[in-house]
């Protein structure tokens, strides 16, 4: 019986192919836009979460307050210094700590001037390993920074391309960082995200001298003892830092964050951006719905006589209503189906192009099956809702007048 209520509407849709396609088009565009935006947004989140989880569950990040997202030189009075690193290191259950600092600086090479981020890194291999692990730095050629190094620099992958300075940077070349000459001793492996691949790593002490920051630290990474609860250790660090800095509870001018908390800060922003974009895309879906409504009103008009015949043959108002609602639901579902395919296809394409051009670090497009199913149900419902008013009109037609309608 239920089959009957699908067969007839389906035949009607097939009967008027051009009109059906035009109607579907509106829904297709709307659904494709929504699906591709959601898929891309999720791809972005996936990538970011992957990056943060690569930092390791056992690490804590300590920064001056207000610089959580962009650790570096804090411009206000609040500063974290080398002694804070020591305080953190003394907390029991903290296995190891490392501090680093970075800022944007003027770089000159091959008579070209550009601005890049320069990082002051520890020269102790273990400390650097802690940071290096967190930032996934691996040496491709040359060597890492050593304890005795002063004006030495390890450069990111992109410096080996001609694009940055018109000439590839090679081992042994000299760069001018803030007018101070640095010798290239190592080149990093490609990471896939431009900021990482544009790294310039110099010794921490040299950074302090060149930039006049002394023992200021932009970011402390603390690794907890294996098996310890990261956030509990985080609370302990907060307590100790408060004590050493003479602050009361609630007055902290620093923040201690787990990788999860860091990524949550990013994804919250992404969520907001995504909601706005999807909202805009949803407007086109609304237009698609209006298209269905228009088609259905036309269909009711064109099939007035048929409706009269149905009623003469014993169709109740509810039967006619159901038939027309299902028909418009089909428009929604059909548009949804094609829209989902196109939307995901588009997102995949963008993903492939993005990864090829920029690298894999920022976008990881995956098909979300609950999104697919949800969208199909949603589009069917949109179709049904759009057809409700026309279907009501159809169902309430007077059989005598409809039969006479030509």
């Amino acid at each position: 019986m239920i089959k009957d209520y699908f067969q007839l509407p389906w035949r009607e849709i097939k009967r008027r192919k051009l009109r059906s396609w035009l109607t579907l088009l509106g829904v297709i565009i709307g659904i494709a836009a929504v699906v591709s935006l959601i898929t891309l947004g999720q791809g972005l989140q996936n990538a970011i979460e992957k990056q943060f989880s690569a930092l390791g569950e056992d690490k804590l990040f300590i920064t001056a307050k207000g610089s959580a997202l962009t650790p570096g030189l804090s411009t206000d009075a609040v500063k974290i210094r080398d002694k804070d690193v020591k305080v953190v290191g003394r907390v029991s259950d903290v296995r190891k700590t490392a501090g680093m600092i970075f800022t944007t600086a003027r770089i000159e090479f091959n008579d070209n001037v550009r601005y890049f981020v320069v990082s002051g890194m520890p020269t102790d291999p273990e400390e650097r390993a802690l940071l290096g692990e967190a930032q996934s730095y691996k040496i491709e050629s040359g060597r890492s920074l050593e304890k005795s190094d002063r004006f030495k620099v390890v450069v990111g992958f992109e410096y080996t391309q001609k694009g940055l300075f018109g000439r590839a940077v090679e081992l042994g070349d000299s760069l001018l960082i803030l007018n101070q000459e640095f010798k290239v001793v190592g080149i990093l492996e490609r990471i896939g995200s431009p900021p990482d691949d544009q790294s310039l790593l110099i010794p921490f002490d040299t950074f302090g001298d060149v930039f006049g920051t002394g023992d200021e630290v932009g970011l402390i990474v603390a690794q907890v003892q294996p098996g310890e609860d990261t956030s509990a250790v985080g609370d302990e660090i907060t307590k100790e830092l408060r004590k050493s800095r003479g602050l009361k509870e609630g007055e902290e001018d620093f923040s201690v964050q787990t990788p999860e908390q860091l990524s949550a800060a990013f994804t919250t922003i992404l969520d907001i951006v995504q909601v706005v974009l999807v909202g805009i895309a949803a407007i086109s879906l609304l237009v698609g719905g209006v298209g269905i409504m228009n088609t259905m009103y036309t269909a009711v008009l064109q099939r007035t006589k048929e409706i009269g015949v149905m009623k003469a043959l014993g169709a109740k108002n509810s039967h006619v209503l159901t038939l027309f609602v299902v028909e418009s639901g089909f428009y929604g579902l059909g548009g949804g189906l094609i829209g989902v395919i196109l939307g995901i296809g588009f997102a995949k394409l963008v993903g492939i192009i993005f990864v090829a051009v920029v690298g894999p670090a920022f976008l990881s497009v995956e098909v979300n099956y609950s999104l697919v199913v949800g969208t199909l149900i949603f589009s069917f419902v949109i179709g049904c809702l759009s057809g409700l008013a026309p279907a009501r009109r159809a169902s309430q037609l007077n059989p005598v007048q409809s039969l006479r309608y030509e």
Partner: protein
Amino acid sequence: MNKIKKTKKNYNSNGRTYKPEKKSEKHMKDPIISVRDVWKTYYLGENVLNVLKGVSLDIFPGEFVSIIGPSGSGKSTMMNMVGVLDIPTKGKVLLKGKDIAQYSESGLAQLRGKSIGFIFQQFNLIPTLTALENVIFPTIFQGVPEKERTKRAKKLLEIVGLSDRMRHKPNELSGGQQQRVAIARALINNPEIILADEPTGNLDSISGKQVMDLLSRLHREEKKTIVLVTHDIELVKYSSRKVYIKDGIIQKITHNHHG
């Protein structure tokens, strides 16, 4: 239609006095449809249009009744009353003794689907459905099990001689074939009454005769009550009783004993 004689003016001369129709000995049973002093009035802006002016007619089970009248006579409205497609402005229509005014819109639809089979001048098949599906179509609204309805529809198509056309769509069938599909469709719910509105109006004379012979056979062999609405005096020879209608009033009723 100029043959209509304006005798028997005593029938509803003022449109109000209703004299119960005398039952002939042939029809001692209760009427299956009873139209009692029915008025139908349309209001078109300021104009009041009385399409039926106090019409009374009893139709008995197993009868073949023709309702004859020129266009604008009110015969279509009469058909709507008999087919419970419409309700009277005044007066009563009884189907199997029950006043149709008691029914809701859905109730009437249900009743129509079960008790009345419609045949239209323009066939009115659903263009997207095959012949077989068209015949099955009215059962959807009655909830007939799938197996049974398909069996019944195939048998009916066999009766109307279209077994080899079951999978054809209406636009692949001739007018006569379409009308025969429509007849099969009218029979699918096994209704007591077949209501045919100008069934040959769009057909050539040979197809028209086939259709009328088929209706005649249904009347004789299946004992169906048939109500034929037409302006074509040629067709009425098939019927046992002829009701002449003009200007919303029944002009005369004649019996045809060989019908």
